[in-house]
Amino acid sequence: MIVNLLDPKFFMGIKSRKEPKFKENIVIVPPQVNKTNQESIETANKAFRNSLQAILAANFVLNFLMSGLLQYLWGMINALQMIVYSVLFNVAYPPNA
């Protein structure tokens, strides 16, 4: 977190009791959590990011499959299913088919 100090005169060093000198009145505050908690947050963040990526990828694939463009592909698969399942009929197929 970056804190922009409008008036640094209000601050005083704990030990020196003097007005601290800030560079361009900007203070970078480190995360106010202990190391263990920070690691857990990072792990959770990583898991969330991976899940989000998976959802977006799956969403893209599903939208593509459900789009109107593939209607002929589904038609082809449906017809081929009816033909290829005839191999389960009690007939003697030639070796080439």
């Binding site: 899940s51 989000l52 998976a54 959802i55 977006l56 799956a58 969403n59 599903l62 939208n63 499959l65 459900m66 109107g68 463009l69 593939l70 209607q71 002929y72 592909l73 589904w74 038609g75 082809m76 698969i77 449906n78 017809a79 081929l80 299913q81 009816m82 033909i83 290829v84 399942y85 005839s86 191999v87 389960l88 009929f89 009690n90 007939v91 003697a92 197929y93 030639p94 070796p95 080439n96 088919a97």
Partner: protein, 317 residues
Amino acid sequence: MVLITIMQITNFDLFFTDTIMEYVFDFGESEPFSAIFEEADFETSNYVLLAGSLFLIAVSFLIYAVLRETLLWFIRYFDTGFCLMEKLGEMDYVVTVLRFLLESCLELSLAGLITVVKLDSSNWANFSDGFSTVLAFVNLVGLVGAPIFLIVQAHIFHKYYDTNQEVRDKYKTLFEDYRRRSLPSLLYNVVFFLRRYFMVIILIYLPLHKNLQIFAQLLSTLFVMCYIGYVEPYKEKARNTFEWFNELTVLVASYALLTFTPWVDDNDTRYLVGWVMIGVVALNMVGNITMMLVTKLCQAVTKTRLWYTKRKVKADF
């Protein structure tokens, strides 16, 4: 055999399902339904193993749906990240599940019925086998329920479309491809389901009656061809024509089956007809893929023309 290879593609058998199944489940031994089924890669009577990739696809979709809905709930609850919501877009689960059932009903109904017909004590030997058997029953109930659900929805859509806005919005995606004024058009998917169930019942309950199997296939194909020709279920004429073309290829391939019975003794003739069958399958594939590419090309040309005209109009002003 060429047809068995194509069968793996039409069944979406694209993953290493056996390895994954072995890792997750502990299935006992189970016998195949018959020698013919065993030859066609139906080597077991276990539902999950027979369903294979379709089972994995269904589980993946379930995980996806849960994750998606959780994410959407978080967005609504914390009132943030609405750009992500826009990116995810809308998802009609009913249409997606119905599309999955339509494409997989043949394999799933066959797998479910094989498990039920071969039901014995080995089906309950351990947790994995029991889970698979229960899933087979649930699947069969779902597959029987799907056409009933569609009949009810088609009836509601047809009856209340003109008077009820809610009905129009709710079933917009479910019946968007069909001629909404005609009830038989809206019921085309029901015919699609029933025809496949008819084939599966013939395969399971009359496994040795070769002539009956072939004639059932021929008559059901002829019936569907008449249905498409008379009802013209789709809005687009090209789609009706191509659906009819697809059925024609099934009919020609079914007639070829007659030569694989004792009616024809000559092996050379059978071999020749085998090539005819491969040719018919190839023709079907080439026709559909060409049509798909042509449609996409036409869409791209129209979009480019529109973009060019808009740009020109903007430049003129």
